[in-house]
Amino acid sequence: MTDLALDIRGVSKRYAAHVAVRDLSLSVPRGTVYGLLGPNGAGKTSTIRMILNIIAPDTGTIHLLGRPHSDGAIQDRIGYLPEERGLYKKMAVRDVLRFLAELKGVARRTADARIDEWLDRLALRTPEKDWGKAKVDELSRGMQQKVQFIGTLLHDPELVILDEPFSGLDPINAQALKDTVVDLKRRGKTVIFSTHLMDNAERLCDAVCIIARGEKVLDGAVAAVKSENAGRTVALALEGSASPAVMGVLQDKALVERVDDQSRFFEVELAANADAQVLLRRILEAGARIARFERVQPSLHQIFLQRVGASGVEEGMSGHG
């Protein structure tokens, strides 16, 4: 038994008009939370669909839990939440969930017990109302997302693959999702999810892979990725808002490569040969009162912008990268 949950080697996928994924290799150890990061149209969904054997790669091999991904039996050990979500609208919630469980080979009795457990846990069954009896289209959007999420996990999969799980979630459901991911990891499951929200990825992931234009930009443990890209980032906080003079300093290309301006908080990436001390002195000379000036590890967000850049986002490619 291999200790890799996912092993992709040299996978490419070409569509008529463009290359979706180019020579992608990555591996995900068991028991980790792995983030597949990239702008829209980077090839995330194509990669995930190939992992699940929904579409066939043109070249390369994919192994899941030590078995080829085309092995029919492997499907039952994987839970998948697609980016485009949907359920049978006219079916009762409980019937849909039973059906989804049955497709994964879960016995009816086991499925029913787990459905109850999940409905309780996600507040879809309360003493006042059992939404399990309602038809899917009677549920609010948020509730439908919860049901879909339950459907992904009912068969207690070893590997959970979530495509853009946070898109369209309200803060409460997003928190429930994060809690569940943490819980899955604690129980030794592997979770792979794609996102373009770096904050979520940074907080949840053990390791990440950033892809853009169908190619891998970098991958590795989050800590390693951050330390490799460290040393050139300064966290700066001001008392009051920045004066034009201060903004002038921050836009000096000799000192500053890039600045993430959040009004009173700035994440500053120093220019190649710039000295942080010089930057600090210039800002003070510009008359600013400094609340914080600290050399920090860059956020994933920062690394992402730095490595992918604006050019990584291909225009006109909607959603199905």
Partner: protein
Amino acid sequence: MAKLFAVVKREYLERVRSPWFLIVTLFGPLFFATIMVLPGYLSIRGMRNSGVSQFTVLDATGTGLGERLADRIASRPNTDSLPPALAETVNAMPVVPRPVIEVLTADALAAREAQLVTEVQEKRLVGFLVIDSATVDKGEARYAGRNAGSVGETERIESALRSALLSMRIEAAGISATTAESLTRLRISLSADRITDRGKGGSGLASAFLGGGVAMLLYFSIVFYGQAILRGVLEEKTTRVAEVIVSSVSPDTLLAGKVLGVGAVGLTQQLVWLSSGVFFWTQRGALFKMLGMGAPPPMAFPTVSPTVLVALVLFFLLGYTLYASLFAAVGAMVGSQEEANQASQPVIMLLVFSIIFLQPVLLNPTGRLAQIVSWVPFSAPIIMPMRMTATEIGIGELAAVLAGVLAMCFACVWMAARIYRIGLLMYGKRPSMAELMRWIRQS
């Protein structure tokens, strides 16, 4: 296999549980009962109503033809040659009232006719019949009235007039009135029996009814359940539930489960219909009595050999699978119901092509046209069962046609599965013909 069963089960239960299934399934037998009973009921009602339509005869012949005619219109039909059951029905019908006879001269005719037209317009009279010397010489008469369009009424008058004229002419030839009477009162009843290799096989008319009925049933089932499959595929595609499903089962399994599940729904429904059809058929005597119509017209149920029965079931299963896969492919190609309506036109055309040949084939089931249409794999599942019940088909021909349909069925399923596999996850623009070809090649 367990997954296929799960898909089949869902398709089956979700459809059978829907109120529409209940309505259609219950409505079916009602429909059968209605078409079996209604024509008889209506024709008897029609005869009763015609009892009210007492009309006037203007007799300018000067020969007493009017009186003879009136006798014949008012009398009961001779039931001697009828089967006892039908005779009983006819005798139970009310007597048609005698028309009013006005004997007048040819000169007065025009004026009286004008008066009667006004009476008809003022609804004091249903209509009037004019007989004169032309009637006696050449058999020409004219009827005018509000019910002039009624074929039944016209035929009744014509036949009475023919009989009256005939008896008058026979009498003129020197034969006694009573002899003439018995000579002219003759009813012809032609029963057409179908002869097959195994001997006489029930009435030809009943076979035609059965054949046409089977063909229509197959046609409607294929259209109805084919469309149900299309809608099902489209729903999975538009609600995006398809992607979740195909991460658990292969698209081929999903397609097979859908076709089998919906097919099982169709079979369930037809089983209900068939058994209730048989029930109403055997109980039709009681039903007719309940509606106060006497005995139902006799009609022997045509004999159906086991070979024909097996072939019938095979044709239904193959025909259904063939068209179901085509409808599924259409569903996977499109993104909305409007697009589906448009894209399913070619498939519907194939079905309509079968049904427009229904009548010609029914009228001449052994003709060249009937043969050709029943050999084409797309129309064979509908036309062949009908030909089989209407005429004898050699076992060799039957096997060859079945093999052809089977081959076409495989080709369609193969092609549809490929289109389905790719189309299911394709959103946006409808594929062009060239793109479709690429889908079929690449998957």
